[in-house]
C-alpha cells in the first residue's frame, strides 16, 4: 500500500481547471500528467497543450472563466515567459482574481525568483524539487474557499 493510499482521501476538488504550457515550450508529457492528476482529484480539465501563445491563454480564460489556471514549464524559460504572460493576463478585468499557478523547471533558483513570479501575479509557484504535496494542498484550499473570495484575502 502506498503512502498516498493511507492518507485521508481528498474531497473532490470539483474545479474547472485550464492546464497549459507557455509559448516557447514544446514539452507535452508534463501537461498530460497534470491533466490525469487533476481529473483524479475531481477537476474538469481543459488542456491547451504546448507552445500556447499568451493571447490564446488569455482568450481561453476570458471565455471559459476557469476556477484555476495551471501552467507547467520545463524548458527553463518559465520565469521570463511567465512574467510576460501575467502582464497581459492581469490587465484583463475579468481575470484580475482568477487563481493562476506555475510549476516545473522554471530556472528559478531560490526564493527571490519565486518572489518575482508571485509579484508578477501568480498565486503560487511550485518548484520541481518540492514534490506534489504543496500542489495538492493548494487545490484543497482552493476547493473549500468561499466562492468569489480572492486567494490571500482571508
Amino acid at each position: 500500500m502506498t503512502i498516498e493510499a493511507v492518507q485521508p482521501m481528498l474531497p473532490d476538488a470539483g474545479l474547472d481547471v485550464i492546464v497549459t504550457g507557455l509559448s516557447s515550450d514544446a514539452h507535452t508529457w508534463n501537461l498530460v500528467y497534470l491533466e490525469l492528476l487533476l481529473e483524479e482529484l475531481g477537476c474538469r480539465v481543459t488542456n491547451l497543450g504546448a507552445c500556447v501563445p499568451d493571447a490564446t491563454i488569455v482568450r481561453e480564460c476570458v471565455t471559459r472563466r476557469p476556477d484555476l489556471l495551471v501552467i507547467s514549464s520545463l524548458n527553463g524559460h518559465g520565469r521570463q515567459d511567465g512574467v510576460r504572460l501575467m502582464e497581459a493576463f492581469r490587465a484583463r478585468a475579468e481575470l484580475v482574481t482568477t487563481p493562476v499557478v506555475i510549476g516545473g523547471k522554471l530556472d528559478v533558483t531560490g526564493g527571490s525568483n519565486a518572489a518575482r513570479l508571485l509579484e508578477a501575479g501568480f498565486d503560487a509557484v511550485f518548484e520541481d524539487s518540492a514534490g506534489l504535496t504543496p500542489f495538492r494542498t493548494f487545490l484543497r484550499t482552493l476547493s473549500v474557499r468561499a466562492p468569489g473570495v480572492p486567494l490571500g484575502a482571508g
Binding site: A26, W29, V32, G49, A50
Partner: protein, 436 residues
C-alpha cells in the same frame, strides 16, 4: 544570401548506401552549437570517430519557430543558443565552417524540428547542403500549434524547393520524422504508417532520395517486427525512390546511470543491424541530464558502431499484426483524397489518424497506447482509426497519473535496474560492445 555552387561530393543517400553495402551501420549524432568554432570541432570529431559517420547540424529553437529576431539578438548579445542558427549566422562564417568539414564521403544533414522549414531549406541549399529531415505531421502535431493544413502547405513548398535544386551533382535527401511521434507510448503500427505516409508525401512533391525513421520503443522483438513492416511498406508504396531506414535511439525518458544508458544505446544499434537499417541516430550517456558534449557524442557513436559490428540480420520474425495495422492506416488515408496533403488533414480531422497523448488542436485525442506486462506497446483505445478488425483491445481501464509515470519511465527503470551499477569489468565489456 549568396547562392553557392553545389558542393562536390557524394550525396547523402549515396554515402549511406555505400556504407550499407560494406556492412557498416552509419551512426550520426544530434548536435548543434551556436558557436561556429565549437560546431566545427563537433563535426570534425564526428568525422574522425572510429565508425562510419555522417554529420549533423541541429538548428536552434528560435530558428525552429521562425523567430529570427530573437536568434539575431542572441547572437549579437553573445548569448548561447541550443543549436546552430543557420539562417542568421554570417554566411561567410557558415561557408568557412562547411569548407572545413565537408568531404566527398562526409555529408552533413540539417536537423531542425520546424513546422515551417521554408527558410531553413532555402538557407541550407544556399550553402550547398542537400539533406534535411522532418515532415508535415511529425513536426507539426507534437511541437507546435500551427494548423496541420498550414504545416502541410509549408512542407509541400519546402519539398518543391528541395526538388528544384536537384541536379547532376546534387541529389536532395529528406528523412521522415514520423517514426517518432511523441517519442513514447505511440504503438508501432501508427509510427510505421506515419513514416510511410510522410515519405510518400515527399516523393509526390519531387524528392527522389528518402529515408524512413523508426524510433526504438520498449520491446526489442516488437521493434524488429515494426522495422520489417516499415521495409515492406516502403517497397510497396515508394518502390521507385532510393530509400533507406534510419533508427532513432530511444527518444523517451533516458536511463540516468552510465551503465543503463550505454546498454540502451547498444540495444538501439543491435536493432538497426538486425533489421537491415542503414543508419542510426545515436543518443548519449548524458541524455538524462543535459545536452551532451562533443566528447560524449563521439564516445556514444563509437559505442553504437561497435555494438552493431558483426550482428547479422535476422530472418524470421513474429507477426503480431503491426504490418496489417500500418497498411490499413495508410490505405485508409490514400482512399480519402487524391491529394495526400489534404488526405492527411482529413484523416486527422476525422480521428482516423489519432496520435495518443498528443494535445494539438487538430489531433482527435481519443486513442491511447499502453504498456503491456511484457513491455510491448499496445493499443488501449483506437478512437476512430480503422483498426477495429485488427486489434484486440483490453478492457477499458482508466490510466491514472501514476500509471502514466510508470509507463514513461519503464525503459529508464528497467535499464538502470539491470545495468545501472556495473563493476568495472561490465563497463569494459559494454564499451567494447560485446553482445549479450
Amino acid at each position: 544570401m549568396n547562392v553557392l555552387a553545389p558542393r562536390r561530393g557524394l550525396s547523402f543517400g549515396e554515402v549511406v548506401a555505400r556504407h550499407h553495402a560494406r556492412g557498416e551501420l552509419v551512426v550520426q549524432p544530434r548536435m548543434g552549437f551556436a558557436d561556429p568554432g565549437r560546431m566545427t570541432r563537433g563535426l570534425l570529431a564526428t568525422r574522425s570517430a572510429r565508425a562510419a559517420t555522417v554529420g549533423t547540424i541541429t538548428i536552434d529553437s528560435y530558428t525552429r519557430v521562425g523567430d529570427h529576431e530573437a536568434a539575431r539578438a542572441a547572437l549579437a548579445a553573445g548569448a548561447d543558443l541550443n543549436g546552430y542558427p543557420l539562417v542568421d549566422h554570417d554566411p561567410v562564417t557558415t561557408t568557412a565552417l562547411l569548407d572545413g568539414v565537408l568531404t566527398g564521403d562526409f555529408p552533413v544533414q540539417v536537423r531542425h524540428g520546424s513546422a515551417d522549414p521554408r527558410r531553413i531549406v532555402r538557407a541550407l541549399l544556399g550553402f550547398g547542403l542537400h539533406a534535411t529531415e522532418g515532415g508535415p505531421v511529425s513536426y507539426c502535431l507534437p511541437y507546435s500549434r500551427m494548423p496541420l493544413s498550414a504545416a502541410v502547405d509549408n512542407w509541400r513548398r519546402s519539398c518543391e524547393t528541395l526538388a528544384e535544386a536537384r541536379g547532376p551533382e546534387l541529389e536532395p535527401h529528406l528523412e521522415t520524422f514520423g517514426g517518432c511521434m511523441m517519442g513514447q507510448l505511440c504503438p508501432p503500427a501508427l509510427l510505421v504508417a506515419l513514416s510511410v505516409l510522410e515519405g510518400m508525401f515527399f516523393w509526390r512533391h519531387g524528392i527522389r532520395c528518402l529515408s524512413f525513421s523508426y524510433a526504438q520503443q520498449t520491446h526489442a522483438g516488437q521493434d524488429e517486427e515494426a522495422v520489417a513492416a516499415l521495409h515492406a511498406l516502403i517497397r510497396e508504396y515508394v518502390p521507385h525512390a532510393r530509400t533507406h531506414v534510419v533508427i532513432y535511439g530511444y527518444m523517451g525518458v533516458y536511463p540516468r546511470t552510465p551503465g543503463g544508458a550505454l546498454e540502451l544505446i547498444a540495444e538501439s544499434a543491435r536493432l538497426a543491424a538486425r533489421t537491415g537499417a542503414s543508419r542510426l541516430i545515436v543518443k548519449t550517456t548524458a541524455e538524462a541530464h543535459r545536452l551532451p558534449t562533443v566528447a560524449e557524442n563521439v564516445t556514444a557513436l563509437e559505442h553504437a558502431a561497435e555494438a552493431a559490428r558483426g550482428v547479422s540480420r535476422i530472418g524470421r520474425l513474429g507477426d503480431t499484426g503491426i504490418h496489417a495495422q500500418a497498411k490499413a492506416l495508410v490505405d485508409n488515408v490514400l482512399s480519402l483524397d487524391a491529394d495526400l496533403g489534404r488526405a492527411l488533414v482529413t484523416a486527422f480531422a476525422r480521428g482516423q489518424l489519432d496520435v495518443p497523448f498528443c494535445l494539438h488542436p487538430d489531433n482527435a485525442g481519443r486513442a491511447r497506447g499502453r504498456l503491456a506486462d511484457d513491455g510491448r506497446l499496445e493499443w488501449q483505445r483506437i478512437g476512430a482509426m480503422p483498426l477495429g478488425d485488427l486489434v484486440d483491445l483490453p478492457g477499458d481501464r482508466r490510466m491514472t497519473s501514476n500509471d502514466l509515470l510508470d509507463a514513461l519511465r519503464y525503459v529508464e527503470r528497467s535499464f538502470d535496474e539491470k545495468y545501472g551499477l556495473p563493476g568495472i569489468e561490465t563497463v569494459n565489456r559494454l564499451t567494447q560492445g560485446s553482445r549479450t
